[in-house]
């Protein structure tokens, strides 16, 4: 039997600790994954500069185009191209529908105020814990967005431009979540089937964090 006194103490502390923190756990999780990616870039030999105002880094808590007064990270290394990492970017897909990309690794100097990136390398969909049924909706949404944002496209029967993942989308898509690996094997397999790399158990101390770090170090080191 759980002690009622301990339960009260738990929720009192929880309530106090969360004052001022982002109410949307998804925003908090996105910031965590963003910083992990920045850290892996540092470990992989990049200098990382986070664009901030007087030490305050402004995180997008709602999607928008490149630009505005939101922060982003600049990656640079001698003899290599420069890159940027942004969060909460809205992109226009092949169908002309807009999709939010939680985190993107792109080439430097993106066109401001538009949803059409030049040189997209990595797209990460972040998902803080959710129930199995809602998670299925999220992964279908993620696969749909990757398909529509794919740089390979064809003409549909109705004459529309449709994205194609079979010809290669030309960026690397990931689905990153704090849900422990193995809890939802069917969902992980669904993502793999459609070329989206599932990264489960990505949280502080989580079993998926070493895999996340290793995969991104390899990817970052392979960038030109």
């Amino acid at each position: 039997m759980i002690s009622q006194a301990s339960l009260r103490r738990f929720f009192k502390t929880f309530s106090k600790a969360t004052v001022g923190l982002p109410k949307a756990e998804g925003n908090l999780y996105e910031a965590f994954v963003f910083l992990e990616l920045c850290r892996q870039a540092q470990v992989s030999g990049f200098d990382v500069e986070m664009v901030s105002v007087n030490g305050d880094y402004r995180v997008r808590a709602s999607p928008g185009y490149f630009g505005g007064d939101f922060g982003y990270a600049i990656l640079s290394a001698p003899g290599r191209k420069r890159y940027e990492i942004h969060n909460g970017i809205q992109f226009i897909g092949n169908s002309r529908m807009e999709h939010e990309a939680d985190i993107v690794l792109v080439g430097e100097k993106q066109p401001q105020g538009t949803g059409q990136p030049s040189a997209l390398y990595v797209l990460i969909e972040c998902k803080f814990y959710d129930s199995a049924s809602r998670l299925k909706g999220e992964v279908r949404k993620a696969v749909g967005a990757v398909l529509d944002l794919s740089c390979s496209n064809h003409q549909s029967k109705g004459g529309h431009v449709q994205g194609c993942i079979h010809c290669g989308c030309r960026f690397t898509p990931f689905f990153v979540t704090n849900i422990v690996s193995g809890r939802r094997p069917d969902i992980q397999t669904f993502l793999k089937t459609y070329e989206v790399d599932p990264m489960f158990g990505v949280f502080e101390g989580g079993s998926g964090l070493p895999h996340f770090r290793g995969a991104f170090r390899l990817l970052l080191r392979a960038l030109p």
Partner: protein, 157 residues
């Protein structure tokens, strides 16, 4: 020990309502969805394919309580642990000289989405440790000797 997953869920939800009503609601909905998904999976031929992998071996006889407890950890512990991890990363990458993260929406100048300041991290770390200790106490009360913290939130920082 709680006698059923429903009882455990009600016990945690009721206690949460007083201090964290929004999260209590989220927890109850999520855990009930997960229980329903698990129960309907049990009726299908895919039980062995899916079920065996989803629940760690030592919890299989208490699979429903495991799902409820996992939802509790993800909803009530992970946000605090994530905020602490963000602070630790900012400390590690000290050359970035970032003192705070302010979460703002498009067209909104303030910190409407919340803020994490490096100055608040020591207190948050203390709170996280206390929450983890209490959750471990709840885990032992629910599962007895089979409970291990590593099955839910891994190593401590």
């Amino acid at each position: 020990m709680a006698e059923s997953a429903e009882e455990l869920l009600r016990e945690l939800e009721t206690a949460a309502r007083e201090y964290a009503p929004v999260e209590a609601e989220l927890f109850a909905i999520t855990a009930r969805d997960d229980l329903a998904d698990w129960r309907q999976t049990q009726d299908r031929e895919r039980q062995s394919e899916l079920g065996e992998e989803r629940i760690p071996a030592q919890y299989r006889s208490r699979a429903e309580e495991f799902l409820v407890f996992d939802a509790f950890v993800r909803i009530f512990l992970d946000p605090i642990a994530t905020a602490v991890a963000i602070g630790s990363m900012l400390d590690e990458m000290s050359n970035l000289e970032i003192r705070s993260l302010t979460f703002g929406r498009f067209g909104d100048d303030g910190a409407s989405g919340g803020q994490i300041s490096r100055d608040n991290i020591p207190q948050l770390r203390h709170d996280r440790n206390e929450l983890q200790e209490l959750t471990a106490e709840f885990g032992r009360a629910t599962f007895g000797n089979i409970f291990r913290t590593a099955d839910f939130w891994g190593r401590r920082e």
